[in-house]
Symmetry: none
Subunit: 206 residues, 4 copies
DNA sequence: TATGAATGAGTCTTCATTCAT
DNA sequence: CATGAATGAAGACTCATTCAT
């Protein structure tokens, strides 16, 4: 019986995921999910309290991972790397940073797509905006301590610029996903991206 | 009679625009538009065939302008500027480029907002994606002729990189609109943006 | 067209009334009302915003009348009659009082039935309780001024007693309705009722 | 095993009672009862055939008691008391009568509340109406034999009057319950009630 | 006895659109 | 050109009950 339950739950989640990906959260219909999964509409409500809960359930692992990544950036090692990066000694940080997001893509491709493009209407429709905002705040804090340590470096005109760059990183990810690049293509794109960011930042800061 | 008709049509468009901005295309309701405009619901269908047509009609001038901008890039002057930009002689092109999009913002703020954030569910929900794609293609054509003329310059690893940068420009615009920056803030942001792009590209290409 | 609209509206109201009377507000179904009235379910919502609004609309005239009756009791004539009644000079007040409620029955039989027995689940489910409470408060005010004028009269032990008598009057009405008495039977019942109340009150107050 | 079963049964009944009291029969949900009692929804159906049966089961003791009270009225002693009451010799009967219903309140408060206010939708929604009808019939029989024995006494105009008074007694009980009177308040209310009824009846019958 | 899974009809309400006048 | 009336499908969600184990 437990097996059956797990199977059904999985079936719901998979079908819902497919529907959400196809039509977006708002236009995906419970009726349709029921029909396509072969599970009684009302039975779905034995597993999930609402359409929104299904959605949240699907993207939960991704969100957990992303929040974990955010926390990781608070440790010392990251701090040091950032200083090196900002002062132009090394782009290691950037590489690692991007790397971790690339892993996100390969592990949570569908979920990322859902949260990036298909969440409108759900309770998570602002998640990415909020997340980028938090990322930006972290960068600003880093920049602050950086400029205190290295006052010789000029600073960025607009704090908005940092925000834009956080958004760009997600754009970058988004586009990689949309265009379904091959691993090799991804590698090249990342190389360009990092080179670009590195040079760009150095140009602004010097 | 023609006068009256024009008035009504305008009334519909204005009210619909307000509704679309508030709720997005999908959740905006014809009933509500009718009620708020004071025009009979069914009468609206004498002016527009569907909700989608109203939407298209509202953003039509913006779309026309954008397509015009796309065409402009085919003339000789633009071509020359691009070569200067790519070879590092001048960032004039970039400046002009951005400038023209900033004018877009000031002239078509609402329409841009509609197309960028509120088009989900309409037939134009992919317009921005398609448009960026076309922009990218143009850049690729330019790059091709450029690299033939100046074979000494190394080229970008991934054509995808060009695409990303087109997307970024729209991200940049989007974020400026979302955050409702003041003209001064916009100016600073643009300065950072151009400096960044210029340095970045040069780093990649050299 | 206007005729058609009036007809449809009337049709909805009548059918809904029938359904509410048969099944009570809560169990009456919009689908059923639509089916039985021959009017499209969704079309009903062009006339009424909700099931509750239909209900309120049906009983509105009754409620208006009842509130009017409540206000009438504030004039001088009524005050004088009450003093006469309470002092045992005349039962005219009681007669008039009951008479007015009997007219309520003959004019608003169905509506009364709805509000008395079938309102559970609607926004008016507490109307009768609230109304009796207001009636009781008025009686208490009268009794207060009465006992100041005629301090020799003993007063009622419990203010709750007044409340009960207000409720009883509605019970009386309710039962007359439930048992569908003939006019002659009603007359007799009222006579007993008034005689009873008159004697009862005098017994308590003396 | 029997022990466990009794426990479970009791648990269901208690939880259901709470739910019925809170939401009324119709709006109380089996799911909720299951959840709150910690007993599997489907297991409940091993103990009771339906929601309705649970309800009936809960109020069964009260109903039994009430029917017993009805039968008691057939014995000689009660008959004699009634004659004394009706002839104005003593109000002892009334006192006893009311007393027994007050005991009902203190012993079966919840069940009474259920049957009086929360039974809509259940098979017992008309129980109180039916019960009062039976009470009325008994009174009518008494009155018949009484008027044969004492033809000098005038009789009531409308047999409906008896009915109303039975209903009133339940109104009285209902209101006491609704307003959660203290014992002292109840005592006063009853005193008024009996005095009132006694005087009233005597006025009608003489 | 007890459980979890499943059912299917039901709830009210909203939608964009069309028809007849 | 304008109106009011009507349509039919769809929306998410809840219900008491039953089945299989």
């Amino acid at each position: 019986m437990q097996i059956k339950k797990d199977y059904t739950r999985e079936e719901i989640v998979m079908t819902a995921k497919r529907e959400f990906l196809k039509n977006g959260f708002a236009k995906a219909s419970m009726r349709e999910i029921a029909k396509r999964s072969g599970i009684g509409l009302s039975n779905i409500y034995n597993y999930f309290k609402s359409k929104d809960e299904i959605f949240r359930c699907i993207v939960a692992p991704l969100i957990a991972k992303m929040q974990e990544m955010l926390l990781e950036h608070h440790n010392v090692k990251y701090h040091e790397q950032f200083l090196k990066y900002a002062s132009g000694e090394s782009d290691e940080m950037m590489t690692e940073h991007v790397q971790s997001y690339m892993e996100l893509i390969s592990h949570y491709r569908d979920e990322l797509e859902l949260i990036l493009f298909k969440a409108q209407g759900s309770s998570l429709e602002n998640f990415i905006d909020d997340y980028t905002e938090m990322c930006t705040k972290q960068v600003l804090i880093f920049m602050d301590s950086f400029s205190k340590k290295y006052p010789s470096y000029s600073t960025v005109k607009s704090s908005f610029t940092y925000h834009v760059h956080t958004v760009w990183m997600f754009s970058f990810i988004s586009e990689i996903m949309k265009h379904r690049l091959s691993p090799k293509e991804i590698e090249n794109a990342i190389e360009d991206y990092i080179k670009f960011e590195y040079a760009g930042w150095r140009a602004i800061l010097n």
